[in-house]
């Protein structure tokens, strides 16, 4: 077990280093930050001076090494655009993204599993078929379009919900939360549906097909034959056994909820890290881009690690295999 964990952590660290290297090798294709930092009336001399100050005249490997040196000490540099430490900006923006991701994730999992079980049990019912067809929309429409459609329906036409932003937030320590105000909660509705819709339909379809698979198994038939109640069969015996693949996918999907909140955040002008990243790309704000990409890869690698470990906990066969000395 311990050896397995150590091995996985070692692999994770290697992945992180490679991601960073690839990221830095690509930054020069994003463009040149100098033109954004200097005004119209700059001279070549100004350009060269600033480039030297920022270390942009060095090869990207040197820039990367410099970044890593700072990053291991928790120093991600200073944003070119805002002139403030990147770590400070990220901490300021993180609550918005995390709250949005948490609500979306909760919606996706609870509704996704619920509807998945429902459509599996009543697989020939009209409601179940309608839900299945409707879920195609969630899988196939791009997030961008869903967001715009929701805004036009609920903000512009009906005027029920705000069209952008986070509403009022309350500060608890360093954490700004939108959960405690009415405008904050209202502002969460549309973006979290937009962000979670894809995951919701995905989880639903996954749970449904796994359920259908499991319901065909002999032990379910035996359970029914034993006279167990339908509810106990479906939830205690069937659902539990569908969860292993669901956990894997959900884990990875939670990562993408945070990572790909970028689009939802752009559509709703949601002041999270995704929007920060988009702005950073437009401005070629290399320190912000680098820190964001590293954080996202840390998160993905971390989630993968946790999912691997959860397998261990849930599926006893893996444990047997390992201790069996392969």
């Amino acid at each position: 077990m311990l050896a397995y964990i150590i091995q996985r952590i070692g692999q994770s660290a290697l992945v992180l280093l490679i991601v960073g290297l690839v990221a830095f090798s690509m930054f020069r294709f994003v463009g040149d930050p100098i033109d954004n930092m200097l005004g119209q009336e700059r001279t070549q001399e100004d350009i060269d001076r600033l480039r030297g100050q920022l270390g942009l005249d060095q090869p990207f490997v040197m820039q990367y090494v410099k970044f890593l040196g700072g990053a291991v000490q928790g120093n991600f540099g200073v944003s070119y655009r805002q002139g403030r430490p990147v770590s400070e900006i990220l901490l300021e923006r993180a609550p918005a993204t995390l709250e949005l991701a948490a609500v979306s994730g909760f919606l996706a999992i609870s509704i996704g599993i619920g509807l998945g079980v429902f459509t599996a049990i009543r697989r020939n019912g009209i409601t179940a078929n309608v839900i299945m067809s409707a879920s195609l929309i969630g899988v196939s429409l791009p997030t961008f379009l869903i967001g715009i459609l929701l805004i036009y329906l609920f903000s512009v036409e009906l005027g029920w919900l705000p069209s952008f932003g986070r509403g009022e937030t309350v500060k608890i320590g360093n954490w700004s939360t939108g959960f405690l105000t009415e405008t904050g909660l209202k502002a969460l509705i549309l973006p979290s549906i937009t962000l979670g819709l894809y995951q919701m339909t995905l989880i639903m379809r996954l749970v449904r097909s796994e359920m259908l698979e499991v319901l065909r198994q002999d032990y379910i038939r035996f359970a029914r034959a034993r006279g167990l109640r339908e509810r106990a069969v479906n939830f205690r015996h069937a659902l539990k056994n569908t969860l292993v693949p669901v956990i894997t996918v959900t884990g990875l999907q939670l990562g993408s909820i945070i990572a790909f909140a970028i689009i939802t955040e752009t559509v709703f002008q949601w002041p999270g890290v995704g929007l920060l990243f988009i702005n950073a790309i437009q401005f070629v704000d290399i320190p912000v881009m680098a820190a964001y990409l590293m954080l996202i890869s840390v998160m993905f690698v971390g989630i993968n690690l946790i999912v691997d470990l959860l397998y261990f906990a849930i599926d006893p066969r893996l444990r047997v295999d390992r201790t069996g000395g392969h």
């Binding site: 294709f29 994003v30 463009g31 040149d32 930050p33 033109d35 954004n36 930092m37 200097l38 005004g39 119209q40 009336e41 700059r42 001279t43 070549q44 001399e45 001076r49 600033l50 100050q53 920022l54 200073v78 070119y80 655009r81 805002q82 002139g83 403030r84 900006i89 300021e92 715009i148 805004i151 036009y152 903000s155 512009v156 036409e157 009906l158 005027g159 705000p162 069209s163 952008f164 932003g165 752009t266 559509v267 709703f268 002008q269 002041p271 929007l275 920060l276 988009i278 702005n279 437009q282 401005f283 070629v284």
Partner: protein, 520 residues
């Protein structure tokens, strides 16, 4: 359904009028609150509400007294004497006097400051007394007061107390996030990239004509979101309105579209100095654009009225020279742009020896100017009509400038907005022979060079007599038009969207001046 919804929408949009906060959205958040750190329109435009200069621009763009009540040339043009306004206080209560002007000059002209080029003609700034300052120039400079309308005055005591005596672009400092100006509004909350809140400054020296008690700027990058925010009444003003949405918004009674002409002229540039084309399939040993007939053919092949009608949806005006008619020094006698004439263009090409045409690379930004890529696509099609094939390469602006600096183009699209609102500005940056030492021609990527233009530029810069100056500007315009140094296409439109109950003034520099807003 629609009939039911419409009154609701109007009712909603009326709500913010009674609310105290005026909310507006722009695409770009001002990246700093430091008036000397970054010379860009989003920063200077926003800070014009907070800081003030010795002079300011009125609704017609003419300069008017602000922190200086009067100014006059010294002697035969050795400099300018500014008489400062008395009784002005900064937002923190400190009094304004000549020391703040001297300090702001030192700060804004420092190497670390992005506004340094404004003070290139200045040799010395002298405090005569507490309310009189002499700004000496190395040569007579008739437009100096015009050129410093965005030079904002900062309190020396405040800057020293907060260790921000110089701007710091790389690491930021106190003035990056905090302000202390003399303007009509003070910043009460600043969250970079999220919101910036302004409240009226009670101690402002001038009489306030607005009725705003609180204003909030939110950057909204996505144009569709901005339009939705305006339509749903979540914001009172958006800048800009996407061109394709103008008709739809104009048809809606709850909102209005405010259109104007920006100071920015969009033009095509050529590689004057290059020996050969870089992206041509067959013409690899010659540079057709070095021939004035080919450049003229390009000017006549581009159907500007069609571009304005289709891509700009009638929102822009054709341009004949490097500045728009609203700028000082515009040559009124030369306002005609070459007529669209396919046959004439073909004849010119044939005369130059390219009757079979040639292919070349057209570089274009895709996120810098309004519908820039669509314009370039249209131009590509129009040039194909006369037999020259443009291979279009459109890219984001942060990749674009490095490409132009590396001379990686055969033709390019450029927009120019003169910071001084004077015709001399584009001559200095776009038409003068590039000269690193004299800081001339720094945006003249193609290396256009004309001895007469170079000779006239310093004379224009130091000519006090308006008529003589205009005659020289006219001569330069004539040279540039005759040689087709650039092909000016159109003046970029300004399109703002506001709630119907908002009255405001749109300035051609795209600055949103909050003190001119009234909400009815």
């Amino acid at each position: 359904m629609i009939r039911y919804i419409l009154p609701v929408a109007i009712g909603l949009s009326a709500a913010p009028a009674m609310a105290e906060t005026f909310k507006w959205a722009e695409t770009t958040d001002p990246q700093t609150m430091d008036p000397h750190a970054v010379n860009s329109a989003p920063v200077l435009g926003f800070l014009n509400n907070v800081y003030e200069g010795l002079v300011r621009r009125g609704k017609d763009m003419a300069i008017e007294p602000a922190l200086a009540t009067a100014w006059e040339p010294i002697g035969e043009g050795e400099g300018w004497r500014f008489t400062l306004r008395q009784g002005v206080t900064f937002h923190d209560g400190a009094a304004f006097d000549a020391d703040d002007v001297i300090f702001s000059y030192t700060r804004a002209s420092d190497e670390s400051s992005d506004t340094r080029s404004w003070f290139a003609p200045v040799s010395e700034v002298i405090k005569v007394d507490a309310y009189t300052v002499d700004i000496m120039t190395s040569a007579p400079n008739p437009i100096f007061p015009d050129s410093i309308a965005n030079w904002m005055i900062m309190d020396s005591g405040w800057a020293e107390a907060n260790a921000t005596t110089l701007p710091d672009k790389e690491n930021g400092n106190y003035a990056t996030l905090n302000t202390n100006g003399t303007g009509a509004f003070r910043v009460t909350d600043r969250q970079p990239g999220l919101t910036t809140v302004l409240e009226p400054f009670d101690g402002w020296w001038d009489e306030a004509t607005h009725n705003i008690t609180r204003a909030e700027l939110t950057p909204i990058q996505n144009p569709a979101t901005a339009v939705a925010a305006l339509l749903s009444g979540d914001v009172d003003l958006i800048n800009p309105v996407p061109i394709q949405d103008t008709a739809r918004l104009a048809a809606n009674d709850a909102v209005k579209v405010i259109q104007g002409i920006e100071a920015r002229v969009i033009m095509l540039g050529f590689p004057h100095e290059a020996d050969s084309l870089k992206y041509s399939a067959e013409t690899t040993d010659a540079n057709p654009f070095a021939d004035v007939r080919v450049r003229k053919a390009v000017a006549q092949a581009v159907n500007v009225p069609a571009i304005l009608q289709t891509i700009m949806r009638g929102n822009a005006e054709a341009a004949s020279q490097l500045v728009s008619p609203a700028m000082r020094g515009f040559s009124t006698g030369l306002a005609e742009r070459p007529a669209y004439d396919v046959d004439a263009a073909k004849a010119l090409l044939a005369e130059a020896g390219y009757e079979t045409g040639f292919s070349f690379g057209l570089k274009c930004p895709n996120d810098r100017y309004l519908n820039d890529e669509a314009v370039c696509q249209a131009i590509t099609g129009m040039l194909a009509q006369v037999g020259i094939t443009a291979v279009l390469d459109a890219m984001p602006v942060q990749n674009y400038w490095p490409e132009l600096r590396e001379d990686n183009y055969d033709m390019y699209l450029l927009g120019w907005s003169p910071g001084t609102f004077d015709a001399e500005h584009p001559i200095r940056f776009l038409a003068a022979t590039p000269n690193e030492e004299k800081k001339l021609g720094s945006w003249n990527f193609g290396g256009y060079s004309n001895a007469r233009v170079d000779e006239l530029l310093p004379l224009i810069q130091s000519e006090i007599d308006d008529a003589k100056r205009q005659a020289m500007l006219d001569e330069v315009t004539q040279v540039l038009q005759g040689e087709v140094a650039y092909v000016p296409l159109y003046v970029q439109p300004l399109v703002w969207g506001a709630q119907a109950n908002v009255d405001l003034t749109q300035r051609p520099d795209n600055f949103f001046i909050l003190r001119w807003v009234t909400v009815n």
